[in-house]
């Protein structure tokens, strides 16, 4: 009887997760684009061979992984500080927590447009400040390195509060007595942070790391609005590359191959993260 209640949920999840993945695999083995008249023509592994030789795919994958790793690690470090800061009791802390969460709650397209205006050349506030000291504009969004930094900065702005709140939940499960005992033993505040706070936060760090790494690997809205993948593809992500192949070049077979390829990279990345997690336990325990 109980299993019947679960069936609708399982049916829907199969519809949006399993069937799409199988369908991608099926499409990736076919030529399926405007040039085939939108007919499925089996072409063996041609799509996959093309993917292996497609420099742009590998550059894009590298950029996506770099984006995910850099932004998520900065976010986690910042989030630890923010969580500590929000883990206090005084009047108005609820409002403060809600306000710091605001960037996360806004649609990514809105906040990406906000940042595009801030990074605008020559009318954005940053370029205006630069123009006071130098005659050379930075051209933030047309310089590959600066444009990449801009996407990272906007992502940090948006998702750090989310991680901070998850870590805050972790902080609130740690008994204050532990700190008291540690202080009586003569331990300093910084030491308490490394011997109590950080090890006990590990599960929360793991959850937020896994979630954020997976999500930022699929970064799409932010890139599309802020830089459009440019300049010269330097901020392109796997999702925007797949999107362009499907919706602009109308090559659905190859787009599916890109998506699956990206998915495989993500799986390998998660595997690597798991190994790192197990290894980090050893480091933490040896410190205690």
């Amino acid at each position: 009887m109980n299993i019947i209640l679960l069936l609708p949920a399982i049916f829907l999840l199969c519809l949006v997760f399993f069937i799409p993945l199988l369908r991608y695999f099926w499409l990736s083995l076919h030529a399926y684009s405007v040039s085939t008249g939108l007919e499925l023509i089996p072409n063996g592994g041609v799509n996959w061979l093309r993917l292996l030789e497609d420099d742009r795919f590998w550059i894009t994958t590298f950029q996506t992984v770099r984006f995910a790793c850099v932004s998520v690690s900065v976010e986690v470090v910042l989030a630890i500080f923010i969580a500590l800061l929000l883990d206090q009791k005084f009047k108005g802390i609820g409002i403060a927590r809600a306000l710091t969460l605001l960037p996360w709650a806004l649609p990514t397209t809105i906040m990406a447009l906000c940042w595009r205006w801030i990074f605008n050349t020559p009318n954005g506030p940053i370029e205006r400040l630069i123009s006071l000291v130098s005659n050379e504009p930075l051209n933030i969004l047309s310089d590959p390195h600066l444009a990449w930094l801009a996407t990272v900065l906007a992502d940090i702005w948006k998702t750090t509060p989310f991680i901070a709140l998850i870590l805050l939940a972790g902080l609130q499960t740690i008994s204050k007595d532990l700190y008291e005992a540690f202080r009586l033993e003569g331990g300093g505040k910084l030491q308490a942070f490394f011997t109590i706070t950080l090890p006990l936060l590990r599960p929360y760090l793991l959850i937020s790391l896994m979630f954020r790494l997976a999500q930022s690997f699929g970064v799409f809205d932010l890139i599309q609005i802020l830089t459009g993948g440019g300049p010269a593809g330097s901020t392109e992500s796997v999702a925007t590359y797949a999107y362009i192949n499907a919706m602009r070049f109308l090559d659905f077979g190859y787009s599916s191959t890109i998506i699956l390829g990206g998915f495989i990279v993500l799986l390998l990345l998660s595997l690597f993260a798991m190994v790192f997690y197990v290894y980090s336990r050893k480091i933490f325990i040896s410190k205690l």
Binding site: I95, A98, P107, W157
Partner: protein, 271 residues
């Protein structure tokens, strides 16, 4: 303490500054945006907002569309997730753990990668350009998180309670409707708000499913405004659009801060 408050103010400034900048820009006339230091007469204007409301379709239409999608997705998710979460706490432990692991992985999955297949489903079933149909993928994508949060809440209820109701002769549906679901109302509220925010903010699926201008949701509308003229500078209009688009969410976040924070933290603790 003083130092902490100071740091907190810096944090709030960092979080809110981009937004204040938008509010400021949205009231500037285009001349004053281009030359902010000049002293001109028509510095402030409501023109940007007027333009948004007189355009075709008017801007409130997008807010309405997003509200419709957000509400239907939330309701649909709850209808499916509540019984499923209950069932999850009543079946064999091994199966339950297996299902939870599956839901957990599904919740982590970067759903953006599914856009192409979901678009094919929309075409095959001929349900593109329909706001109610859009809630189908949104509900499905929200299910994993919703079920994890709600089953944790069901799990916290004492078992005796349901036994007592059973002895009183209440059927499964009655027990759920009158006893169990009311008791987990706080968790349901947090879950609903998080799903509502997700559906309101979702972009890639809305972008591919909806093409009629009068049906697009707010994030897509913002993206269209952003893409319409990359090299000219109608930034006043952009800013007005982002301010109006953010207002409902700011109100939601301030009203439901407790539920949102509870939902997120529950997700972390139970996950």
């Amino acid at each position: 303490m003083i130092r902490n408050k100071f740091l907190l103010i810096i944090l709030l400034l960092w979080s809110l500054c981009p937004f204040f900048w938008q509010v400021y820009t949205s009231f500037c006339s285009s001349e004053s945006i281009l030359s902010p230091l000049l002293n001109i007469d028509n510095r402030w204007t409501l023109q940007n907002y007027i333009q948004l409301f007189t355009s075709e379709p008017p801007f409130w239409r997008y807010l309405l569309n997003s509200t419709i999608v957000g509400t239907t997705s939330t309701v649909l998710t709850l209808i499916i997730a509540l019984p499923a979460s209950y069932a999850l706490t009543r079946i064999n432990k091994v199966f339950a753990t297996g299902f939870k692991l599956f839901f957990f992985i599904a919740a982590l999955f970067p759903y953006v990668l599914l856009f192409l297949s979901l678009l094919e489903i929309a075409r095959a079933l001929n349900i593109g350009n329909n706001l109610f149909a859009l809630s189908l993928p949104y509900a499905s994508l929200s299910l994993p998180l919703a079920i994890l949060l709600l089953s944790a809440a069901f799990n916290d209820l004492p078992k005796d309670l349901e036994e007592a109701a059973k002895i009183e002769g209440l059927g499964l549906f009655q027990r759920l409707r009158w006893i169990l679901i009311p008791l987990i109302a706080p968790a349901t509220a947090s879950t609903s708000i998080i799903i509502f925010l997700f559906s309101w903010n979702e972009y890639p699926i809305a972008l591919t499913w909806i093409s009629k201008p009068e049906l697009i949701t707010l994030p897509v509308a913002i993206a269209r405004i952003a893409g319409s003229s990359v090299y000219s500078v109608p930034y006043g209009a952009y800013a007005a659009a982002t301010v109006l688009g953010s207002l409902p969410l700011i109100i939601i976040v301030l009203l439901f801060q407790k539920q949102i924070i509870a939902g997120l933290t529950q997700g972390a603790v139970k996950g």
